[in-house]
Amino acid sequence: MIEVVELEKTFRVARHHRGLAGAFRNLVEARSELVHAVDGVSFRIGDGEFVGFIGPNGAGKSTTLKMLTGVLEPSGGRARVDGLDPRRDRVRHTARLGAVFGQRTQLWWDLPVIESYTLLRHVYRTPERAFADQLARISERLELGKLLDVPVRKLSLGQRMRCELAAALLHAPPLLFLDEPTIGLDVVAKEAIREFLAAENRERRTTILLTTHDLSDIERLCPRMLLIDHGKVVYDGSVEAVRREVTSERRLSIDFETDAPDAVPDGVAVEERRRARLVLRFDRERIPAPKLIAWLAERAPIADLSLEETPIERIVAELYRRSAAR
């Protein structure tokens, strides 16, 4: 279980004078200011949870994650992972932790993938048998077969990400931290990774923490999301609950057999209008969907329609707006 109480991280950032004259002034007169990257974050994560961290750039997601891995020391508050202090008990803690930090590789660039794995087996002191089983299982799931003998530098980004993920899991850690694991990947590669993560979480009860900018990762994988902005937790709960809480708005796309009606009921916004097609946004509290559809059907015969929840991007944008207003 992960327990974070009032976690803080303050960085001292140098402020530089500009220009050549400024560069000389920087030498004699160092100015700096404090930046509160993480400013009193608290949460608990139970065993087997799959939690998504989201937030704009510089919100404090990665810093929080780094404090949980033991790479960074908190400036205030405390973090415990299964009773261990990630920094003071770094060796014991990291032995039970798998981590993938987005753009960084933990594989040996010029060596075949399998050699990196063997080295990691020694680094983590994984028993040979357990290692072989885990490798067989994961390489089947992630379809690593042919990749194992290829030097890492010759892999595509998607292939490499799959290999990184396997590397982080070969010592069978109960805890997995992922920082932007799908960044820059195409749809197929993304889907492969998502499917794998969902299965790891479901079947092995691996606790997974993931940061991402791709909100569809969250929607697809995480029953719970933590939204962080300006170093604080702005929202902690399920995607569904936040959707209900933030907005009762929905979207209706509708194709008519004839020209679309000219008017729409009060309080309904037209997002897109073509000859025989309308895309409408409406508030289900003010006008329920059946009523709206009936109203439209009276004015023109309907050929087809689809009803959508508010996309997660809009929800998150709304949450950011609220946190900024606060």
Binding site: A37, T63, E73, L97, Q106, W109, L111, H122, P151
Partner: protein
């Protein structure tokens, strides 16, 4: 401990295999290294053959000095290569990766960018030292001083590269030049007897960065010339202490830096 050593060897040999993927570059660098090795001893030979001796040191005695210091330094270059290039590694933000693994960070850094061709330099240094010992007909006690000097040098240079690497935590810039001044510069300077240098420099490498304890004092003891050179007879015995002190300082500085990194972030 033994487990750590085994991991070190595994990591080091992985680095080596990685370099051998670029066969051309590997061969070329090995050739360049060999050339440098041969040319290294040139100036010493030229100077001593021109003057017959250098400040009372014969060519064989100079070769002993050279063999000792270059063995020490080459052993450190071979074993702790990662610390030499640490600042660049830190700048690339790759330290996090090592902190995420349940093993000693010092051990992992030491094994980075291992270069086996440095073993040739170790061999060259040792061959020169052994030949010098034979030429000088050194007895067992003197040989012990030579070995102790080489071992002390390893500790001292190890400490220096660690201190140099640690500076990177504070400056967050390249520190390779600073390190090179002390290590390559130091080992070049120590190829000659310390007594030929001007006063301030001699003091600096005796009391400041105690490089003189690496080979000069142990060599004086081995040759039985400590007092003749104007030093207290017991002084060479301080060598292991001085050298271990530098290493302790290096380790402490590195741990300090690591704590600073962990609380400052990248």
């Amino acid at each position: 401990m033994l487990d750590g050593l085994r991991l070190y060897l595994r990591l080091a040999s992985a680095g080596l295999r990685a370099q051998m993927q670029y066969r051309g570059a590997f061969v070329l660098r090995s050739i360049v290294d060999f050339g440098v090795m041969i040319s290294d001893l040139g100036p010493v030979w030229v100077l001593s053959s021109y003057f017959g001796h250098l400040d009372g040191w014969s060519f064989a005695e100079l070769a002993l000095l050279y063999g000792m210091v270059s063995s020490s330094w080459a052993l450190v270059e071979l074993g702790l290569r990662g610390f030499e290039n640490f600042s660049a590694y830190l700048l690339r933000g790759e330290l996090d990766k090592l902190l995420l693994r349940p093993r000693s960070v010092v051990l992992q850094i030491a094994a980075l960018e291992f270069e086996a061709r440095k073993a040739a330099r170790v061999a060259q240094g040792l061959v020169v030292a052994v030949l010098a010992c034979i030429a000088l007909r050194l007895g067992p006690a003197s040989l012990a001083w030579v070995v102790a000097g080489i071992a002390g040098g390893v500790l001292c240079f190890a400490g220096i590269v660690m201190i140099g690497a640690s500076v990177a935590f504070w400056t967050s810039g390249e520190t390779a030049e600073l390190q090179n001044t002390l290590t390559y510069g130091g080992s070049a300077a120590l190829s000659y007897p310390v007594s030929i240098y001007t006063n301030w420099f001699r003091r600096a490498i005796t009391y400041g960065v105690p490089l003189a304890f690496v080979n000069y004092f142990p060599a004086l003891a081995a040759l039985g010339r400590t007092e003749a050179a104007g030093w207290p007879r017991a002084l060479p015995w301080l060598s292991p202490l001085a050298c271990a002190g530098v290493l302790a300082l290096g380790l402490a500085a590195f741990q300090r830096g690591l704590r600073r990194y962990e609380s400052a972030g990248s």
